[in-house]
């Protein structure tokens, strides 16, 4: 279980956030640009230090400002997929995936699952953006991480690749049984993948942000559809069952 209660001074506001994430649970962190989502990921990864509070993973304290405890990134055993692919350019795709892998069989298994087995000997510069991001997922998962952090991993991909990788992630979520934190600014993506949705605005959890966004989306859908075909209006006005459940309004 990941337990987070920390603060961090940022340029325009303070990040002040508390939540937890259980194994097998995917927490989708959503919010506008500049809300502090990426900083949250960097703090969890150990790439930045909090100014107050701390992070605990199971029985291990990753950071505790009061007790002056800070576990560096390399000792946290986590997987991180950045927004745009950060594969090592001097290594082949296989060597990238196997970089911190627990064993070679896991490398084969993941490369097959993500459909990049045929790219083993290619370099990152020789393959497409979608393929690079698949390789980045494999690299992060190959070391059997205790926590998976995803910082807008699909934002640079085309629609087809995004859908495909989303489905892959949904399948993996049940298999991995680790806490997953998925940062996104795509509401549909958060609703599709998230077991819990954490809306963040100006560094704080904003419970009403999601409802407001959905209301805006619905209004847009209503007005758009009303112009085109009146019959679809009633469907667009009501939230989907999954949305109702996540919003606690069902």
């Amino acid at each position: 279980m990941l337990d987070v209660k920390m603060t961090k001074r940022l340029k325009h506001f303070d990040l002040d956030i508390a939540f937890n994430c259980a194994p097998g649970e995917l927490t989708a962190v959503i919010g506008p640009s500049g809300a502090g989502k990426t900083t949250l990921v960097r703090l969890l990864a150990g790439l930045e230090r909090p100014d107050g509070g701390g992070i605990t993973f199971g029985n291990t304290v990753w950071a505790d400002v009061e007790k002056r405890v800070f576990l560096p990134a390399r000792k946290r055993d986590l997987g991180l997929v950045f927004q745009d692919y950060t594969l090592f350019p001097h290594l082949t795709i296989r060597k990238n995936v196997a970089f911190a892998a627990s064993n070679e069989d896991r490398v084969d298994e993941l490369m097959t699952m993500f459909g990049i087995r045929h790219l083993e000997s290619s370099r990152p510069s020789d393959i497409s953006g979608g393929e690079r991001q698949r390789a980045a997922f494999c690299q992060a998962l190959a070391r059997d991480p205790v926590l998976l952090l995803l910082d807008e991993p699909f934002s640079a991909l085309d629609v087809a690749n995004r859908r495909n990788l989303r489905s892959c992630l949904k399948e993996l979520k049940n298999e991995l049984h680790i806490p997953i934190l998925h940062v996104t600014h795509d509401l549909d993506e958060a609703l599709f993948l998230g077991d819990t949705i954490l809306a963040v605005e100006s560094g704080r959890i904003a419970p009403n942000w999601l409802k407001e966004q959905q209301a805006i989306q619905r209004r847009l859908a209503v007005s758009g559809l009303a112009r085109e075909e009146g019959a679809a209006v009633s469907r667009a006005e009501e939230p989907r069952p999954v949305e109702r459940a996540l919003l606690g309004c069902g």
Binding site: R74, L80, T86, F88, P89, H90, F99, A100
Partner: protein, 218 residues
């Protein structure tokens, strides 16, 4: 014509080229990635040999490396040999003189490196030392090659610092540039011409190689 000065110059240039990465790599990393007070001061100290008159640097080194100097005295206590007017002495002077010429391209190469690669390596469990050897170095080979070749060419032409620290002892410290100077002084223009003509194609080849490396890096 005596080829010994040319051979000695080549020996000095090769040794400088091989040893300079040991000094320049940590210094360039410190200047590229380090965040500490006095960074600009360290930067200025490292770059100083580039702008200082070679005779001034040579004189400073002569004082430090002489038998009464801190370094020269220590060297003599440990080895029993003199540091100045020896090949080891001119090699040490050459390393100090060439340091900025190696640090600058290496630092530029390190600063071009995507910092997220280093973060990615840390998240994947690599220690800072392993990150340097497994990620930083392979991605900065172009910069390292350019630095080494530049240092090689620069060492071949060294004159002021070598003359101050090493003098002109045939077979020990009399490198090609010093021998050419002495040949001209003694009106042996044929010898001076032959040695100069032998150095020009080497320097030209070095420049071609550097241009090729830079074109590949771009």
């Amino acid at each position: 014509m005596d080829w010994t000065p040319l051979i000695l110059s080549a020996k000095l240039a090769i040794w400088t080229m091989l040893l300079i990465p040991i000094l320049a790599s940590p210094m360039a990393s410190l200047l590229a990635f380090g965040r500490f007070k006095g960074k600009s001061l360290l930067d200025a100290v490292v770059t100083l040999p580039m702008v200082m008159p070679p005779t001034v640097l040579g004189f400073a080194l002569l004082v430090v490396m002489g038998p009464r100097g801190y370094l020269g005295g220590l060297w003599e206590d440990v080895t029993g040999d003199r540091l100045v007017f020896s090949f080891t002495g001119i090699l040490l002077a050459s390393l100090i003189f060439n340091l900025p010429f190696a640090v600058q391209p290496l630092r530029a190469s390190l600063e071009k490196l995507d910092p997220r690669l280093l973060e990615s390596a840390a998240v994947l469990g690599l220690s800072p030392l392993s990150t340097f050897f497994r990620i930083v170095l392979p991605n900065c080979l172009g910069g390292l090659a350019a630095a080494s070749i530049l240092v090689f060419a620069h060492s071949l032409g060294e004159f002021g610092v070598i003359l101050m620290v090493g003098g002109s002892i045939p077979g020990q410290t009399q490198v090609a540039s010093v021998a050419i100077f002495e040949a001209v002084e003694a009106l042996r223009f044929d010898d001076a011409f032959r040695m100069s003509a032998a150095l020009i194609p080497v320097c030209f080849a070095v420049l071609l190689i550097i241009n090729k490396i830079n074109a590949r890096r771009a």
